[in-house]
């Protein structure tokens, strides 16, 4: 990721910055123009993850920091002096035990934006401390007066005329009090008059517009940063082009969409950067924005369906919108938003495939049922044995149909959030053993259970666990066509009980593993005919396990079988710990992303959740 820059500082981008990179496919004739565009505009991008200290320190915060440093410095200096008089000792105790704590309180308060305590309390505390010094150490009177002036000046710059005026009056009162309190201070007119004049000048002549202007600049910068941050983080690609289709600005999503590095987009034409197609026609915006034209007559909010080839050459469907915006030169630029609808299209295709699959799954038993029913109705002379066999077949197929329909209904209920899993303590071993026997009996296949007898009880629902185990066993047996062994086992640690279902079947490659819990997904489209099924079994498994507060993972390799692991929380474990994730150390032995570093741990212990890299 690269640093967010506003348009104003684009011109100062270093040669090594992203702007200096050459475009991938810029036309030679357009190169000078592209460079001009790059000098004028910039790319919105997201925050840099590396070190950036906040240099825009509001003046109150800055003064609070200076105050703490000064207070600690002065108090520390006093404690290093070899010998102190009684008065000096009292003076430095005031600094150490009054000013430092007060400065700390004000500093802590300054962490909150627009803190009145920091704005008003800070300088007032300073005046009180200076007054104390005035009383205790009359010989430092001139230094104290200078201190009053500095405090009022800082207050005027950060808090405005009213605050500075009030503080100036307070300083005058303190000074007069010290003068007549018998502290020994005896200012002459040569000191007192300039002091009063300085206070008055600061309080009433300091132009508050300076402060207001500075605040307005800070506010404008924040607004710009906010707008850039929003654009940098929207999921849609946002691209601004001029009237000839040349890219002026874009956000990181647009760069990702185009497969270009940040900075390579600026100066390219729409055609070069994106290569958009509408149906069989490639868009060319050199004579004006084609998307704008396509949007005419249609509801602008609906968008226009386009497509392009992504970096891997795959067709990438997009939903595009465009709108004209006036630019500084009096012309019109065009703002485009492009949404990648690949997943939506895939979902549509998956649903279409599902309809075909479900129809096939439903039709097969129905055909059998209908066939046997016809036989029973057409042939009166059938023997009792033949009738019983026909009825048995009808019953078995009806049971199969029921299972399919129940599975579909459960999937639908999960998706609508209508499934509630009661939290109860249960012993998993007898449940799993019973399901292994039942599924083995129903399918005629052998699955072996190695469940330990003394597993801890887990939190969850017995019915949900039965469904999960049934689906995993069904899946394991289905994809182990050669009679490869299926083994069910379990392990436990201090937090979790992990139930594993391992098969020696066809296995999956990494890409298939990544999608195997997706709804309506099957490893290969041919699997639908090869193995049957609707592609929602593992989706149901994952949904139910997660509803029980656990996780399900899979390890698999093509041709070497698969192992599914369900992590269920122990009944005696705390209710909300993180599930067991990847190892805390990576292959190189370096702490991994999820490692609980000391910094994160301490943050956690003061109630501030840490962020992952």
């Amino acid at each position: 990721m690269t640093t967010m820059r506003g348009p104003a500082d684009a011109a100062t981008a270093s040669p090594g910055s992203a702007h200096a990179d050459a475009p991938v496919a810029a036309a030679p004739a357009a190169a000078p123009r592209q460079e001009a565009v790059r000098g004028r505009r910039t790319i919105w991008s997201s925050h840099r993850a590396s070190a950036t200290f906040d240099l825009d320190i509001p003046s109150v915060n800055l003064v609070a920091r200076i105050r703490v440093a000064l207070a600690v410095g002065v108090a520390a200096t006093g404690s290093f002096l070899p010998s102190l008089t009684r008065e000096q000792s009292a003076l430095f105790l005031i600094f150490g035990l009054v000013w430092v704590p007060w400065a700390t309180v004000v500093f802590l308060a300054s962490a909150r934006p627009n803190s009145r305590l920091a704005l008003v309390g800070g300088p007032m505390g300073d005046l009180v401390v200076l007054f104390g010094v005035q009383l205790v150490a009359p010989q430092a009177a001139e230094v104290v007066l200078l201190g009053y002036v500095v405090v009022v000046a800082f207050a005027a710059s950060s808090g405005g005329r009213a605050l500075a005026g009030g503080l100036a009056m307070l300083a005058l009162v303190f000074t007069v009090t010290a003068r007549y309190a018998g502290s020994g201070q005896d200012f002459g007119a040569m000191v007192l008059v300039p002091f009063c004049a300085a206070l008055l000048a600061i309080a009433f002549l300091v132009d508050r517009t300076t402060t207001l202007r500075a605040r307005a600049a800070v506010r404008a910068q924040r607004y710009r940063t906010r707008a850039e941050t929003v654009l940098a983080h929207v999921a849609d690609a946002v691209i601004v082009t001029d009237a000839t289709g040349m890219v002026l600005e874009c956000n990181p999503t647009a760069c990702t969409l185009a497969g270009l590095d940040t900075g390579d987009m600026a100066g390219l034409s729409c055609k070069q950067a994106l290569g958009l197609w509408s149906g069989q026609r490639e868009l060319d915006c050199s004579e004006g924005c084609e998307i704008l034209r396509l949007s005419e007559g249609a509801d602008a909010r609906q968008g226009v369906e386009l497509w392009r080839r992504d970096v891997s050459g795959m067709r990438q469907p997009l939903l595009a919108n465009a709108a004209g915006v006036p630019n500084d030169a009096g012309g019109t630029d065009v703002v485009h938003s492009l949404r990648d609808v690949t997943r939506i299209k895939q979902a549509e295709e998956a649903k279409t495939l599902f309809l075909a699959t479900a129809s096939h799954e439903l039709k097969t038993p129905l055909t059998v049922i209908r066939g046997f029913a016809d036989v029973l109705s057409d042939y009166d002379s059938l023997s009792d044995n033949t009738r019983r066999e026909a009825l048995g077949a009808i019953s078995a197929r009806a049971e199969h149909l029921t299972q399919i329909v129940e599975r579909l209904l459960l999937s639908s209920r999960i998706e609508s959030g209508a499934v509630s899993i009661p939290a109860e303590d249960m012993d998993v071993t007898p449940i799993v053993d019973e399901r292994v026997r039942a599924v083995g009996a129903a399918t005629g296949r052998h699955a072996r259970s190695t469940m330990p007898k003394a597993l801890p009880r887990v939190q969850g629902s017995e019915n949900a666990l039965i469904t999960v185990v049934d689906h995993l066993l069904d899946n394991a047996l289905k994809y182990s066509p050669g009679g490869a062994p299926v083994v069910v086992g379990a392990t436990a640690d201090e937090q979790w009980v992990t139930i594993t279902v391992a098969d020696g079947g066809i296995g999956m490659d990494p890409d298939q593993v990544a999608h195997c819990f997706d709804k309506f997904w099957q490893a290969e489209s041919t699997d639908v005919r090869r193995f049957g099924g609707t592609g929602i079994g593992l989706y149901i498994v994952q949904s139910l396990v997660e509803a029980m507060g656990g996780t399900v993972t899979v390890t698999s390799a093509r041709g070497e079988g698969s192992t599914f692991a369900c992590n269920l929380r122990r009944a005696d474990a705390p209710r909300v710990p993180a599930p067991p994730g990847p190892a805390a150390h990576d292959e190189q032995g370096q702490p991994g992303v999820g490692e609980v570093t000391s910094i994160r741990e301490f943050m956690r212990q003061i109630g501030i959740p840490g962020r992952q890299a």
Binding site: V72, S79, F95, G96
Partner: protein, 252 residues
């Protein structure tokens, strides 16, 4: 005997905290590339590198003078288990372990902690009154110790607040959190005992200790400021951003 235990205890704590600072430097360096500089990490390193040397210097000083006070001994013994527990948990995390233990419910020894701490505070107050019955001299050299008492108690307050909130949700305690919660106030009270003995002249305030303690003051202020800013959501560090304080359940 008292002196020996105070010396050894302080040496161990000194090594523990200094080592912990080194561990944090390594972690900060590792996360720097992906998550940037952590104010929190820097502040914590500053704390560790003032606390550690303070204990080493104090142990050395008491050993050289040979007059360890009983209040100092009690302070070390109270803070020692918590400090070492926290450090061992961090070592475990560094080696890929969990770095924490969940304590279901409230076992007797956790329930006893407030009573132990209350009794300790009363005993300390009594001890202080006894030691100071003949008067003493309090000067600016002892100021940083009192400042550190307040600062460490404030940090302890943030920790305690989180532990209590977590307990309500998780139904138990985090050993790591409890250890930290105990460590900070006891560190502050160690400084109080030092002030008491220095006031009566039993302990000498050396310039090296003074330097370390004065460095510890801005370090602790910085740390408190980071903690408060993170709680308010006005500072983005290695936390989840400007969402303000969220007392989430954090059982291991």
């Amino acid at each position: 005997m008292i002196t020996d235990v105070v010396v050894v205890g302080n040496f161990v704590l000194g090594v523990v905290y200094t080592s912990y600072g080194l561990i944090t430097i390594a972690e900060l360096k590792r996360g720097w590339r992906t998550m940037g500089v952590s104010h929190f990490g820097l502040a914590w390193i500053a704390m560790a590198f003032t606390c550690g040397p303070h204990h080493l210097e104090h142990g050395l000083h008491v050993g050289a003078v040979g007059h360890g006070g009983i209040l100092d001994l009690v302070a070390v013994l109270i803070g020692f288990p918590a400090g070492v527990t926290w450090f061992l948990l961090r070592l475990e995390a560094l080696r890929g372990g969990r770095g924490d233990r969940f304590i279901p419910g409230t076992p007797w020894w956790v329930a006893a902690l407030p009573w132990i701490f209350g009794a300790y505070a009363i005993a300390l107050a009594t001890g202080v009154a006894t030691v100071l019955r003949d008067g003493g001299h309090f000067g600016p050299r002892l100021t940083p110790n009192l400042l550190l008492l307040g600062l460490y108690c404030l940090i302890g307050y943030y920790l305690l607040r989180t532990q209590l909130a977590n307990r309500a949700v998780a139904g138990g305690w985090s050993l790591s959190g409890l250890a930290l919660t105990v460590v900070f106030p006891t560190c502050g009270l160690m400084h109080v005992t030092f002030v008491v003995y220095a006031t009566t002249g039993q302990y000498d305030v050396g310039w090296h200790g003074l330097v370390i303690d004065w460095l510890a003051v801005p370090a602790a202020i910085y740390f408190l400021w980071v903690v408060r800013s993170l709680s308010l959501g006005t500072l983005t560090d290695w936390n989840e951003g400007s969402t303000g304080a969220r007392l989430e359940t954090v059982a291991a």
